[in-house]
């Protein structure tokens, strides 16, 4: 099969800062003028290949395509796909390329999008590959930060929880490290620290300031953004380790006493216990807005990759 050259999104670093700015601009325009975009993808089909269960990401992709006037097909777990019969990922993607104009794929194995882009003849969007990357969550995060702070530079960002397997964290660090005067406060237990390669090859290489701590409150008064993450059960081979670490950090109202008045609290959701529900009413809690923003930035991304004006 002859493969035509298409644009994919595997890693947030596939997009330049200018392209991210443009996507944010389009997403904001969509939020303000929804009708203008409601037929932009008439006749186009998005395939959602979810080899791993997901609610938010899959539904937000589907909502994004439906809101653009397109249609959606796909599956939501590996057991309902040919994978259960032993088909390789490469073959599945090759076949689905003939059924859809663009593919959003989530797979539990890290690096799976690299296999997909070799075989697909339509754009591939990485909707999460194991604990590796999750670039559309990062685009959602960037849109949220921009809307809440009106800037993407000069920020002190606290990242709290599972920094080892948290793919949203890895992608967010890669993205934010390209902006000026960013400082990261990396808050995690020793077992879930940020992998060395991200520290050496992203933070140190780009001269980005960072501090590692296991104390959630130590830098609370300095933070512009507090990004909480869930300790993900599915990333552990050992149940005991998961049980020991899952409630290591719980953000509640008391812990926010010293925080800035304009702190922006974010979470990729779903949460379990890491943010107490009493924080939901705090005006600094922005995680539900963050989830809503996900649809609009994905709409902007679909338009870009399908080259729709």
């Amino acid at each position: 099969m002859v493969k035509r050259k298409v644009r994919n999104l595997v890693d947030i670093r596939d997009l330049s800062i200018e392209e991210i700015d443009e996507l944010i601009k389009v997403a904001n325009d969509i939020i303000n003028h929804k009708e203008k975009y409601s037929h932009k993808c008439d006749g186009k089909i998005l395939a959602t290949l979810f080899f791993e269960p997901s609610t938010r990401t899959r539904l937000s992709f589907e909502s994004a395509m439906l809101r653009l006037g397109g249609k959606v097909l796909g599956f939501s777990e590996a057991s309902s796909s040919s994978t259960a019969k032993g088909e390789t990922l490469a073959d599945t993607v090759c076949v689905v390329s003939g059924y859809a104009d663009i593919i959003a794929m989530r797979h539990p194995k890290e690096g799976s999008p690299m296999v997909a882009i070799k075989k697909a003849s339509v754009p591939i969007i990485n909707a999460g590959d194991g604990g590796h990357n999750h670039p559309t969550q990062t685009l959602t995060d960037l849109l949220t930060i921009k809307r809440e702070k009106n800037r993407l530079n000069n920020l002190t960002i606290g990242l709290c929880g599972d920094l080892k397997f948290g793919r949203t964290i890895h992608s967010l660090i890669a993205a934010m490290s390209r902006y000026d005067n960013i400082k990261f406060i990396l808050i995690s237990p020793n077992e879930l620290k940020l992998p060395d390669y991200i520290i050496h090859e992203i933070l140190e290489k780009n001269n980005v300031s960072y501090v590692e701590t296991d104390n959630m409150l130590e830098y609370m008064n300095e933070l512009d953004i507090l990004y909480m993450t869930r300790v993900q059960k599915e990333r552990f081979f050992n149940e005991e380790d998961y049980l020991r670490l899952k409630d290591y950090y719980i953000l509640d109202k008391n812990k926010l006493i010293k925080a800035k008045k304009d702190l922006c609290i974010m979470h990729p959701l779903p949460r379990v216990n890491e943010i107490s529900t009493d924080v939901d009413d705090d005006k600094r809690a922005k995680y539900f807005e963050q989830a809503y923003n996900g649809v609009y930035i994905r709409m902007a991304l679909i338009l870009k990759l399908l080259e729709v004006e």
């Binding site: 194991g130 590796h132 390669y197």
Partner: protein, 144 residues
Amino acid sequence: MNIDTIKDGYVIDHITAGNAIKIYQMLSLDKLDCQVALITNAKSKKTIIKDIIKIGSLIDINLDKIAFINPEATVNIVKNEKIIEKKKLEIPKHLINVCKCNNPRCITSTERNLDQIFNLVDHKNKIYRCYYCESTLEKEQFIF
């Protein structure tokens, strides 16, 4: 100690002492039916001691494997008992099917017919990362 000269084959010279056995294993030289000599702790003007491997046949050799283990080694090609070419090695930019990714979450652990690819990301410190999952390659990961 006398080791016969070879008519056609290779002399892998200037191997850091102790590395010859690793190269022997990685190139699967035990599976050859020609003569193979593995000389350890030979005298060296530059490094005091070195290892040498002599292979009595012009088999296909994956130079990347040798370069990955010991980029300082040289590979001499011998024809009719004369060295016709001396190959200097360089640290390979890519390793294809030389090592296996040992991240159990990597797509290479389940997907069939996939080349194992590592890219050199830090020349100075000789750090390779898996093309797929970006895990760091550890030295113990030779499998091919």
